[in-house]
């Protein structure tokens, strides 16, 4: 027995106008200062006002949002009592909004206590949650995961519960138009990693496979175009859709080693999430290797890669991913990110601790022990292909 959970998805040009059809009295808009500056929050407020819905704005979400930021937002929510939460931004904003919404509706549950085993959160009684993505990466608008940073423990908390899925995801490509090439590339690598790991993790299933493969096709076809020309609206739209599709795909199956390693490294060195998980993706494919050879072949077939006779599909896929990453100026190893060897070696014990504690690891087709995890990081630092 398993579940497939997804929000109502409103997508395509002008999807934002769906806000004018919502019912409610007061919206609590969760966002960041950059989104306010870009004028996107004003557009959201304008649509909401057409529905007679007022708005209070909380624009203090930082990249890698902390538990403290969530608490601050909840305090403001409690003072204005909204019946609608509207998250406008990237993954950090949407994750923070999901956590705020839970604590607003269930003050008895601390954000860090959100877990997949609670079956009666009972959300939706005080407010609905609408997530509007302005980046094409995390798919957070459609997932029931929250990633928060515990600043005291220097680790990322991956919190999951089916009930925290947003009620509505708005996927309007116009909102992604302003993304600079670097963020387009970073977030695109996140989509790619979601799609690959969702397709090969041990909880993969018939309902998610097709979504992951479709997202992969879109990434390989449109990500380089979206990075090259942000005004290529066909590429923007396809990547915006791909992010949401991969989000729904992976969250109903989960991820694997690239996410565990990316969370671990990202928390210590403050690397953007998509760049971090994307960097580890080829190493993860090599590490899992033959255990998923049939699935590497399926991916290769879906994205029209030619696998020469006698060659392993996994190897060909790794080459294709590295080529794509190189084309969009992504680092292929940790050294290329400018982290000095000394700092990296010093962080190794914490990197291993974090990766071994990461929830993504439990559904990895191959789970490393601590020694293998250390080798994995060392190889990724040097850019060596995994051979163990």
């Amino acid at each position: 027995m398993w579940y497939f959970v997804a929000p109502q998805v409103v997508f395509g040009q002008d999807a934002l106008s769906h806000l004018a059809q919502l019912k409610g009295k007061l919206a609590f808009i969760v966002t960041d200062k950059n989104i306010v500056k870009l004028g996107i929050v004003d557009k959201v407020k304008e649509q909401l006002s057409q529905a007679g819905i007022g708005a209070t704005v909380f624009d203090e979400v930082e990249p890698d949002p902390s538990l403290q930021t969530v608490e601050k937002g909840v305090a403001l929510m409690n003072s204005c009592a909204p019946d609608l939460v509207v998250a406008v931004g990237g993954g950090s904003v949407m994750d923070a909004a999901k956590a705020m919404r839970v604590q607003y509706e269930r003050p008895d549950i601390r954000p860090e206590e959100i877990n997949p085993f609670i079956s009666d959160l009972g959300l939706g009684r005080k407010c609905k949650l609408v997530c509007i993505s302005t980046t094409s990466g995390t798919g957070a608008e459609a997932t029931f995961a929250i990633v928060l940073t515990d600043t005291t423990d220097q680790r990322k908390l991956s919190l999951i519960n089916r009930e925290i899925v947003p009620d509505i995801a708005i996927v309007d490509p116009e909102l992604a138009r302003g993304m600079p090439p670097q963020i387009t590339a970073d977030t695109g690598m996140d989509v790619l990693t979601h799609a690959v790991e969702g397709f090969i993790c041990t909880w993969k299933n018939d309902f998610t496979d097709g979504l992951c493969l479709k997202a992969l096709q879109l990434v390989f076809q449109y990500l380089p175009r979206a990075v090259r020309d942000g005004n290529d609206m066909e590429a923007r739209e396809k990547m915006h859709n791909a992010a949401c599709i991969a989000g729904i795909g992976f969250i109903n199956a989960l991820t694997a080693m690239a996410h565990a390693a990316g969370h671990s490294w990202g928390a210590l060195f403050h690397i953007p999430h998509g760049r971090a998980v994307g960097l580890f993706l080829p190493y993860t494919i090599e590490f899992i290797g033959e255990a998923r050879e049939e699935l590497w072949s399926e991916i290769a077939y879906a994205i029209k890669l030619r696998v020469p006779e006698g060659e392993r599909a996994g190897k060909v896929l790794v080459q294709a991913i590295r080529e794509l990453a190189r084309n969009i100026n992504q680092p292929l190893n940790i050294k290329e990110t400018g982290i000095p060897s000394e700092s990296f070696q010093k962080a190794i014990p914490k990197l291993i601790d974090n990766v071994m504690a990461d929830g993504s690891l439990i559904v990895s087709p191959r789970i490393p022990d601590a020694t293998e995890a250390e080798k994995f990081f060392q190889y990724a630092y040097e850019g060596k292909s995994i051979d163990f």
Partner: protein, 136 residues
């Protein structure tokens, strides 16, 4: 030789498997807390079993069958019907998925469990490291 589930002999075998498992030691090195595994009767089996494990930093300090539920106040309680427990031990279903679908209930400090999900997985792996025979 297969060991009958729910007996002291079975719990001893589990303690031994935990002692031998490097993967468990590693995954549970920060784990602090004892637990009850409560097997509830269902249509397939009419008895109730309570197994007690005292787990501490990768070690199993005590493992035994409990007859009076009030004897201990463990930090965690993992409970489920016999058939669901059997499916896990037969490796027919994933233990974490069983918990996520509510087939198996978990009570206790969830923040700690979420910090060490692999400890739970490796604990179940140890339960399947030896041959179990189930009461009919």
């Amino acid at each position: 030789m297969a060991i009958l589930f729910g007996t002291q002999e079975w719990v001893d075998a589990l303690k031994d498997a935990l002692k031998k498992s490097q993967a468990y030691k590693e995954a549970a090195k920060n784990w602090e807390g004892d637990l009850y595994i409560i097997v509830e009767p269902d249509a397939a089996y009419k008895n109730r079993h309570i197994l007690y494990l005292d787990l501490w930093h990768g070690e199993c300090r005590e493992a035994r069958v409990i007859t009076d539920e009030n004897e201990k106040s463990p930090k965690y309680r993992i409970s489920g019907p016999f058939t669901s427990m059997k499916q896990i031990l037969d490796k027919k279903v994933d233990p974490v998925q069983s918990m996520m679908t509510g087939k198996i209930k978990v009570k206790g400090d969830m923040a700690q469990i979420m910090k060490m999900p692999r400890a739970a997985v490796e604990l179940v792996n140890c339960m399947t490291a030896f041959e179990t025979v189930f009461p009919s």
